[in-house]
Amino acid sequence: MADPRSLSRRAAASTVALGLIAGLASGWWAITAGMGGESYSGWYGSRVTGSQDAGPWLRARVAVSGLLALTRDQAIYFTRKTDAAGERLRDACRYQVSGGPLPGRWWSVTVYADDNYLPLNDDDALSFDSTEVKLDSQGNWTAILGNARPEGQAWASTRNAGNYDITLRIYQPDKSAQDDYASIRMPVVTKLDCGDKP
């Protein structure tokens, strides 16, 4: 009868294989799950994206979902997958994005399908930016995320985007914004209605 303390090569090899599989699975989960970084009113951003200060986990996450991202002195990036109520953004619904002055030279909001590429539509409205929105006297603005071009408003088309996310890019951000992301008044994304795709 075998000594219960002894370990056969077969058992050891099987355990190594199982351990490697579990490690690879947990590694992939760590790289791909969640948005990474810190949350600011539902927008996720990281102060070390692209920089040499990024740790191995963030570096791997950026490689998968934001390769060749700029450092924060050039651009800061925020991404969100949900509306203000915490529900997943999806192309069957229409949303209003409303915000105020953003602290940088130029900004844009872009729609990405869940494969991390631009949605496959020909609406020529993959994003809206600071030159397209109409400002009120306080510098506030609104824009639409949806399948149909709205009258007289900036918009980004979500046609064929499925369950999507949006990225806010602020180029050449003010120093105060670089130092304290929490100081940025982040745009609010509010669901207007949902329905069948036109």
């Binding site: 219960p4 303390r5 002894s6 370990l7 058992a11 050891a12 355990t15 190594v16 294989a17 199982l18 351990g19 490697l20 599989i21 579990a22 490690g23 690879l24 947990s26 590694g27 992939w28 760590a30 790289i31 692209g50 920089s51 040499q52 990024a54 191995p56 986990w57 570096r59 791997a60 950026v62 490689a63 998968v64 979902s65 934001g66 390769l67 060749l68 991202a69 700029l70 450092t71 002195d73 050039q74 030279r105 130029w106 844009s108 872009t110 990405y112 991390n116 590429y117 631009l118 496959l120 539509n121 020909d122 993959l126 994003s127 930016d129 030159t131 990225t167 890019r169 180029y171 050449q172």
Partner: protein, 179 residues
């Protein structure tokens, strides 16, 4: 040590190796693929390639910005440093040149707000000789990517940015006549 404990320790060690190995290898593997694709399997290195306007069909790099004109240079410093130059876009449009190493780190970035007359620097490995008087960026790796980003949210602005970037260069120092 009993058998269950031994198996548990083996499992934990293997899981740690798998987890950390994947996390550490992922940036190098993805950047390697991007360099290979950009350099057309190594046949186009140390020169800029000018991308078309970003559309839904732009799939070379994840999450491209449709508001920017991108140009890329896959660099290789194994034969010596390279000189990188980029002209501004007329009208003071945003232009930046960013340098990424083989590990995906953004090791340097310059823009035309800092250098309104144009961007110029030498990219070299540690220890490689460089000319006096040049701005120098040092990389810990032979290979990587340089990205020229120009603001171009409309077709008209894209045409303007495209014309300006055609004078960009990313070439071995000797070929630029530098000492």
């Amino acid at each position: 040590m009993n058998r269950t404990l031994k198996l548990g320790l083996i499992f934990a060690a293997a899981a740690a190796v798998g987890h950390v190995g994947l996390v550490m290898a992922t940036p190098r593997v993805i950047m390697g693929a991007a360099i290979k694709r950009t350099s057309k399997d190594g046949s186009v290195v140390n020169q800029f390639q000018f991308g078309p306007r970003t559309t839904k069909d732009s799939r070379a790099v994840v999450r491209p910005s449709p508001d920017l004109a991108y140009s890329t240079c896959a660099y290789n410093l194994s034969q010596g440093p390279i000189l990188v130059q980029a002209a501004p876009t007329p009208g003071d449009g945003y232009v930046s040149i960013s340098v990424f190493d083989a590990r995906t780190d953004n090791i340097a970035v310059f823009d035309t707000r800092q250098f309104p007359q144009g961007i110029r620097f030498v990219l070299a490995r540690e220890g490689q000789a460089v000319p006096d008087g040049e701005k120098v960026v040092r990389s810990n790796f032979d290979q990587g990517l340089i990205l020229d980003r120009r603001l171009a949210p409309t077709a008209e602005q894209f045409a303007q940015a495209d014309a300006a970037r055609r004078t960009d260069s990313c070439a071995p120092l000797d070929s630029k006549g530098s000492t």
